[in-house]
Amino acid sequence: MGKPLKRFEDRRLLLGDTAFVDDLDIPDLLYVAILRSPYAHAKLLKVDLSGALKVPGVVTAIDGDTAKAVTKTIPSYAVATLKPEEYCLATKKVRYVGEAVAAVVATDPAVAEDAIEEIKVQYEPLLAVIDAEKAVNSKSNFVYDSFGTNAVGHNHALWGNVDEAFRSADQTLKERISVQRFSSTPLEPLAVIAKFDRFTQELTLWCNAQMTGHVMMGLSEMLGMPTNKIRLIVQDIGGGFGIKTRPWRPLAIASLLAMRTNGKPVKYIEDRREHMMAAGMTAGGIFDVEVAFKNDGKILGFRLHEINNDGASLQYAGTYSSMRATLINGSYDIRNIEWDSYTTLTNECPSMPNRGVGKPGMVYIVERMIEFVAQRLKMDPAEIRRRNFIPANKFPYATPSGRVYDSGNYPALLRKALEIVEYDKLREKQAELRKNGKYIGIGLATYVHGASAHSREIEGISIKIDAKGNIVANSGSPDMGTGHTTTISQIIAEELGVNPESITVDHFDSNFSPWTPYSGTHANKFSGPDVEVTLQAAKKLRAKVVAIGANLLEANPIDIELEDGKIFVKGSRERYKTLAEIARASYQNPKLLPEGVEPGLEETAIGNTPLATGAFMTDAKYEVGSMHQLVTGPGSPTSFMTYPSSAHVAVVEVDMETGELKILNYVIVHDCGRIINPLIVQGQVQGNAVHGIGVALLEQFVYDEDGQLLTSSFVDYLKPTTCEVPNIIDDHVVTPSPRSSIGIKGVGEGESLGPLASLANAVEDAIAPLGGDFRIHSLPITPEKIYELVKRAQKQRNRT
């Protein structure tokens, strides 16, 4: 533990011995093609599959009627007041470009693609609902007619005394900012192979789904099949980032087809365009923030009015909004907050969880807000943060929304980041360069993020020392490239005193893996329940090994040590037993077992640490709204187990002629508590940060007024490449979490939250000396936007 070990899973990946769904060698495969809606909004009058069924090689085809007859609707995660109407294939209406309308399975992928073109669909196009601000108030033209509205969610909360805060303020300011719809776009798209055994009535799925337990529970419900007749196998996942959380549509479509092919397995892998149109993306947000503050920089309170655009489905509608309540005051001691949050549907791609969910938006709002105040007061952005931080001695800190931050030292994070970047010298350099017509900007972001998943989530793991002393671990949670295999091995190796490389970690198979309803990887969950149960099971095993070893060595268990695969009495290393000998005693020679120790060396741990219950309060005043079940109450899904934090400093140069932006330096100081593998943690920090930089500068899903997606490939939807990423300097501060039995927090989302604000703040800091209106209202910060701002500022300057 604590060592930067190379990952054990890498050798196989480097040799090309990968097991992504497309690599799997399943015999007798048939291939699925999906017919998708070309309209953003239309009545679905008739679907005629007969043409497709006539194509040689086509085995069968299904449409929404089949889906409606034999499956349940796609469930809603957050909205509790409206009944979902959506199935895995469209019925009655199509509601976004790319929505699945029909599916065909054939002996050959090319035949399947040709066959879907023979399906005749009658649409009656309707006006597309695209503008979220208009949609929220629309009195007609609803995405779901029976809802009678597009505004499917409304959260409202009033914490502290907001009116008083505004009354006693020296100044107030108001701004509108927005965050675009984007996605971490995992390189591997959604993929599934489904096989239905008509004799045992068992459905087997090979899928790259992240949330194994959620999928087992939800698919069982949706298909009306018992969970012990569903076998989910998850091997390699080519990136998840949340988009692969619950891929109901491909899973259900493939399952339905598999039940109609006389037992032959069917394979569906979406192509890039399908992924961009239909796999899911973040919710967009329009934020109106009004802040009340004193002239010394102290922020007394703020009002936040939001409109969230969740696309065309109830599936995750309201989730981004609700997640924001978790970090509503950021890293600052602000108690007076009014939060008024609307969620609207539109005829765009449904929202799906994506790296941080609503947290990047909330961090953006708070970190921009404090920057606006600093600008108004002409105060140094570092100084204003220092004056508002939650002090290091005020933990555990209960936020106005009832979440409890476990530990943190935000001033220390900022101090270290400023030291690394040599802040004072940099400000001097900035002034010098300005005199010579060169404009650099410094932007800060100091923030908290929620991690280790939501406090009520539990995981399962079983660890076995087999009859020959070899160790196998099997977790309810899959690995999606974030180093679980190696980290689990490190934890077990530390407890059992073995070489971590000698441990085999199985891939997920619902028949064998101890999954819970929460199993899976999301929200930096691994650092919470996954690590906890691994420790619990490993410790139980260790206790057994120690007891048996003590018996064999005729010693006191207290004096037994485990190291290098040897079990020995402290101080007498030469006289040792091996794990193989312990195992032989355990499985083959019960006479050698001490009193009370049963045969076998296998332990399963299911749960989390009881310390996690410190994450929520029972007497907080919670917000009320249609998303009641998500945001309110103890054990709220949005109350995280741990709260890591970060300080980002972005140093940029703006070209006043072209609007081009260059990142000169990017510094991250993070606090993820105790670090198990520094190499893996740094990899997460860098990967996260580049996601954030992409969102800040490059990425955006754009729909035209008819709801056509204009950015459906990487030609138009820009991702960072090796040419765009700056060299990132990272360091850390450690405030262990009292809620983790080893003091860790989470890493895996955190650094993607900062760059949106740090870069916007940096660009404004660079352009500010020109005067005029240099406000960046929307992301991404493209060269065109910067160019427009510069031109406008120069024009205003020339006028005066």
Partner: protein
């Protein structure tokens, strides 16, 4: 993959076009289970997470190193910009190519 030593996208080259050419894929980098210095460098530098983009990056990097045994960082960044990675943020990949060029130099000497 490499086609006669040049990096090409396997999905846009017809098999007939490759007739008579020497094709090298990731699987051809290691010999008898012994990793190529490039693969070792990726491993030590933590230049892969999910592994999905790795074959592409390995072959594109090899093409760079075959042309210039000591590429500059600028050269590496420019020549790898045709490959996307969603997990690593690229910095460790760039590090890995630099490390590989050092390893390969040692092997040659």
């Amino acid at each position: 993959m490499l086609m006669d030593g040049l990096p090409v996208k396997s999905c846009t080259v017809f098999a007939v076009q490759a007739d008579g050419s020497e094709i090298t894929t990731t699987e051809g980098l290691s010999k008898n289970g012994k990793l190529h210095p490039l693969q070792e460098a990726f491993w030590e530098s933590h230049a892969l997470q999910c592994g999905y983009c790795t074959p592409g990056f390995l072959m594109a990097s090899l093409a760079i190193l075959n042309r210039n045994a000591s590429p500059t960082e600028e050269e590496i960044r420019r020549n790898l910009s045709g490959n996307l990675c969603m997990c690593t943020g690229y910095l460790n990949i760039i590090k890995a190519v630099k490390l590989a060029s050092e390893k390969m130099a040692k092997v040659r000497n």
